[in-house]
């Protein structure tokens, strides 16, 4: 049951509709934005306030098997940040990897109303959907890890392109996912099968399957293109975190040609230097390429100082990071599908590499010429918690604050960057783009990220405040699907949110072949693998841009 609401006197930032700070009246009915409501049940006076669409997180890790392992791993982190319940809301635990309820409420508390879990093993899809159902307020979806899928690699090796296409369609349908995710494509087999080694070059042939990371990436781009997925393959490039990985990142983008591709947490892939040596900044090379190629979207994966948790399907990377402190570490292999590594981490101002990573992220933001395609993220919780977004926004909007922060960090690292010379300050309209309109467009969510008639009534109302961190930390009102959730800074209702997924058509003739593979190499029955609709609850199928083939 949603209300009719009218919001008056607020300064509206709705970049998708070319509205930048104009006083407009907004109307909500039946969960949608409408042109008028005759007698609104509730009128909110937003005098002196800033109104934006609800935030959209294009890349975060909030639900599923690896997230839950990371939760279980860190009682010490929850202990210092309890999340009390209210009469309307459940209690939970905070910290860098909050419990599901705390995750939903805390996103809402920042004015975010949609978040996409960025890496789920297909066999863990059912688990992820159960957790997302317990993640309140926000709409959500997840990307399915297929870049190291053994069956799919076998099809590629045998050149069975047509079957590959349909098998990807089958896998997305069987998991109710939103798009494909590739993580360190081709790197799992050497990790699991060759004593914890890895691939290091886009054109290095896998010993077992005889295909290269580039062939895998290219094949997934083809499939997404042919289907017209709302969001293209979401790629975590090879060589994440390694000095000199800029070459791999540029080559990955070139592999796409002029077809759509999303690069995840691109900051972690923008390093110059030689492997094994200290990295330098290659932000200029990366952002120049992104600026010049409108087919590319990326999220930054900004590093924020303080506690984080590394959680990634890139198991060799996590093992490398584990080597620094040799503290607690998780490796979790998923049969035929993926690897995974998890460890607690912290970024420190005085450490050269951490300060460099922080500065490169800011360089990318500040040198971006198209905010629609360079999207705000911290790769939560890898670069830092989503709860640090307000501080990141302040770093982008407030040059003076940025200078003070630069002064606190490793000087040698800053010296390798052009960050001190970048005077740019983001304005509210650009912030609305990199946190709302841009990610919604990159995801192909036409009803999100804007406030035009017909859009989902996901609205955030912030008190105008020169301290942008404070401002973006505590919206006065949050409306989700037309329901007032936060009223005068306090939760006044709970809401379950929807699951967003796609449903590409596929040729049923692929199924017997997948079944045969399952019967040989999986440990669960094929007929028990696909996730049924009962796990979706409230959901929305996002249409493809091309008709079914």
């Amino acid at each position: 049951m949603s209300d009719t609401i009218c919001i008056i006197n607020g300064s509206v930032y709705d970049p998708a509709n070319n509205i930048a700070g104009e006083i407009r009246t907004l109307y909500v009915r039946d969960g949608r934005m409408v042109d008028a409501v005759s007698e609104p049940a509730r009128t909110l006076d937003a005098q002196g306030m800033v109104i934006m669409p609800g935030g959209v997180d294009i890349h975060c890790h909030i639900a599923g098997p690896k997230v839950n392992l990371a939760r279980k791993l860190q009682p010490e982190d929850h202990r210092r940040d309890p999340h009390p319940g209210t009469i309307f809301t459940r209690s939970g635990s905070g910290g860098v990897v909050p419990s599901t309820f705390a995750t939903g409420y805390r996103y809402a508390t920042l004015g975010y109303t949609t978040a996409m879990e960025a890496a789920v093993t297909p066999i863990g899809a059912r688990h992820t959907l159960e957790e997302l159902h317990d993640t309140p307020i926000i709409d959500k979806g997840f990307y399915i890890l297929l870049g190291n899928n053994i069956y799919l690699q076998q099809l590629l090796k045998e050149g069975r392109k047509e079957e590959f296409h349909h098998a990807v369609g089958w896998w997305i349908n069987s998991t109710k996912s939103f798009t494909t995710k590739l993580v360190n494509p081709g790197g799992d087999e050497p990790w699991k099968g060759r004593r914890n080694s890895n691939v290091s070059d886009l054109d290095e042939k896998n010993e077992v399957f005889g295909i290269t990371p580039r062939e895998i990436i290219s094949a997934f781009i083809d499939v997404a293109d042919a289907y017209g997925f709302p969001h293209p393959p979401h790629v975590h490039c090879n060589n994440l975190g390694h000095s000199g990985n800029v070459r791999t990142t540029l080559e990955t983008m070139k592999t796409a040609g002029d077809r759509r591709l999303h690069l995840a947490h691109i900051q972690f892939h923008s390093y110059s230097g030689e492997p094994g040596q200290n990295p330098g900044s290659a932000a200029r090379d990366i952002i120049d390429y992104v600026n010049a190629h409108p087919n590319i979207t990326c999220d930054v994966g900004q590093v924020m100082f303080g506690k984080s948790t590394i959680m990634t399907a890139d198991a060799p990377l996590a093992y490398m990071l584990r080597g620094i402190k040799k503290a607690k570490w998780i490796n979790a292999d998923t049969e035929c599908e993926s690897g995974c590594g998890i460890l607690p981490f912290s970024y420190q101002e005085k450490i050269y590499v951490h300060a460099l990573q922080w500065a490169i992220g800011l360089e990318l933001f500040l040198m971006s010429q198209d905010p629609w395609r360079v999207i705000l993220s911290t790769d939560h919780p890898n670069g830092g918690s989503f709860q640090s977004y307000p501080k990141l926004i302040r770093l982008l909007m407030d040059r003076e604050f940025r200078r003070q922060e630069i002064a606190k960090v490793n000087k040698r690292a800053i010296g390798k960057t052009v960050l001190p010379d970048l005077d740019r300050e983001y304005n509210l309209n650009e912030i609305a783009i990199i946190t709302r309109a841009g990610p919604a467009r990159a995801l192909g969510l036409t009803n999100k990220g804007h406030l035009g008639a017909g859009a989902d009534a996901d609205i955030t109302v912030y008190d105008e405040n020169p301290d942008r961190e404070l401002m973006f930390s505590a919206p006065r009102y949050v409306i989700k699907s037309g329901n007032l959730i936060i009223d005068n800074h306090e939760f006044c209702a709970d809401f379950s949110g929807r699951t967003l997924h796609i449903a590409p058509a596929y040729d049923e003739s692929i199924v017997p072949s997948v079944r045969t593979f399952f019967e040989s190499y999986y440990s669960i029955e094929f007929d028990n693998y696909a996730v049924d609709d009962s796990y979706l609850h409230e959901h929305e199928v996002i249409p493809l841009s091309r008709a079914a083939t």
């Binding site: 939760r71 317990d134 292999d333 029955e525």
Partner: protein, 451 residues
């Protein structure tokens, strides 16, 4: 057997943590029972055969038959009026029911704990300290050329573990099944699992930690004292042979059971084993996995973790979850006499808890949900008879390796399932709490702790 037979394929056995999902059940719809369970092991066959429908009331209050509605109302009253209600069990029910149980605990600011605290709880603690290199069971089938079992006897406790997942199956890189693998069993006695092993290592009782630490030292190339054999019962030669095998295998796995976790040393033992697996990754790919017992104890760990941040032993008395094993684990809340009401879901602590804990359970109002009468239900104020998961009800369970599986119902039961009862109870609790709220109260924080 009647002629009214029906076959359910790909059904799942929830008896143990193997959660085998390849059952072919023949159901007699007239007699309301499973007459054949193809692919099931000896334990699974008994599980399916014994869960017939008995003529019994769905609910009892103080030993007398009652309507489910009255029982729900009485249970809600008990939970809301208690100052320290505890909820325990959960490992033999669905995740859907577990989610409702945590919700109720959150509302009444109670204490929730699962049977993990009396089985692999120490492994959970070790995990928090060390982490874990681990895998799904299919990886073992496809890749593991060295399989080590430590302190467990799967031949009797998890009869299909060897044949379905770890020893005999042929896998992608293990085309000859058992011939491609070396199987090692480490235990204090020669169990029925020993014949499966290529190498049996018998160690002295209570010396697991010492042997594990010696292995860690040798893996790292350190010298150890010659008296290691005297201490552990295992010679240096055997230790070195094992170390050599572990360092040179392609994909090694260490499975461990309660022989490790519930003997002297507990989480130190589990921790030493997890650390050994971690260390071995400097040389090759190595993983470890506790062999979990109950059908959905892994689901309970997962659900309690995602809802609260902690896997078991969680207390909500301050309005948010706190974790303290030893304080908020059920043996302790009972033995100390803290709990003033208990809801036991799909578990029978009265049959296996320490004497002091059972004595306290007899003193306080108890609510039970179980498929059969148990010692615990016999002392309950409110006892619900519920349908059996995986036989009469669907839902989700997690295998010991965190792989979630959807259950298929074989036949209907006249008894409601756990989730249905707990949902009704949650709504009743919510209603009572609302009615008890002082006028103008804004948050659950301002609720009185008791009536």
């Amino acid at each position: 057997m009647s002629n009214n037979l029906r076959v359910v394929e790909n059904a799942t056995c929830t008896f143990c943590g193997c959660v085998c999902d390849d059952m072919i059940l023949t159901v007699d719809d007239t007699e309301k029972r499973i007459v054949k369970a193809k692919n099931a092991c000896v334990l699974g066959r008994a599980w399916f055969a014994e869960h017939t429908i008995e003529d019994a009331p769905a609910a009892m209050i103080s030993g007398k038959p009652a309507s489910v509605d009255d029982a729900v109302a009485e249970a809600a009253r008990i939970l809301v009026e208690a100052r320290f209600p505890i909820i325990y069990g959960l490992s033999d029910t669905t995740c859907e029911a577990q989610r409702q149980a945590v919700a109720i605990t959150d509302m009444v600011r109670g204490n929730i704990d699962t049977t993990t605290s009396v089985c692999h709880g120490p492994s959970g603690l070790a995990f928090q300290g060390i982490g874990e290199s681990t895998m799904t069971l299919g990886e073992v089938k496809n890749r593991a050329d060295l399989v080590v079992y430590w302190g467990g006897n799967p031949a009797e406790s998890h009869p299909r573990h060897f044949t379905r997942y770890t020893v005999t199956p042929k896998g992608m890189f293990m085309p000859n099944g058992k011939k491609d693998r070396t199987v090692v069993l480490v235990d204090v006695r020669r169990t029925p699992s020993a014949p499966v092993a290529n190498i049996f290592v018998q160690l002295k009782p209570g010396k697991d930690f010492e042997l594990l630490w010696a292995l860690r030292a040798r893996v790292k190339g350190r010298e150890i004292k010659a008296d290691i054999e005297e201490i552990t019962g295992v010679s240096l030669a055997v230790i070195d042979d094992l170390v050599q095998r572990m360092k040179t295998c392609r994909y090694g796995v260490l499975f461990f059971g309660m022989g490790l976790t519930m003997t002297r040393g507990r989480h130190f033992n589990s921790g030493a084993l997890l650390a050994l697996a971690t260390d071995l990754n400097e040389f090759t790919h190595f993983v470890a996995k506790p062999v979990r017992g109950h059908g959905n104890v892994t689901g309970a760990d997962n659900v309690v973790s995602w809802q609260t941040g902690y896997p078991f032993g969680v207390n909500f008395s301050r309005g948010y979850p706190r974790f303290n094993p030893g304080e908020f684990t059920t043996v302790d809340t009972l033995s100390r006499g803290d709990a003033d009401a208990a809801m036991i879901i799909a578990s029978d602590p009265a049959s296996n808890f320490p004497k002091a804990a059972i004595a306290h359970l007899r003193r306080i109002p108890v609510i039970t949900l179980d498929t059969k009468p148990t010692l615990t239900s016999s002392l309950a104020r409110v006892a619900f008879r519920t349908s059996t998961y995986g036989i009469n009800t669907g839902g989700t369970v997690y295998r010991m390796d965190d792989v979630p599986i959807t259950l298929r119902k074989a036949f209907d039961s006249p008894f409601p399932d756990d989730e249905t009862i707990l949902r009704a109870l949650k709504e009743k609790v919510q209603e009572l709490l609302r009615s008890r709220m002082p006028r103008g109260a804004k948050s659950a924080f301002e609720l009185p702790l008791s009536a």
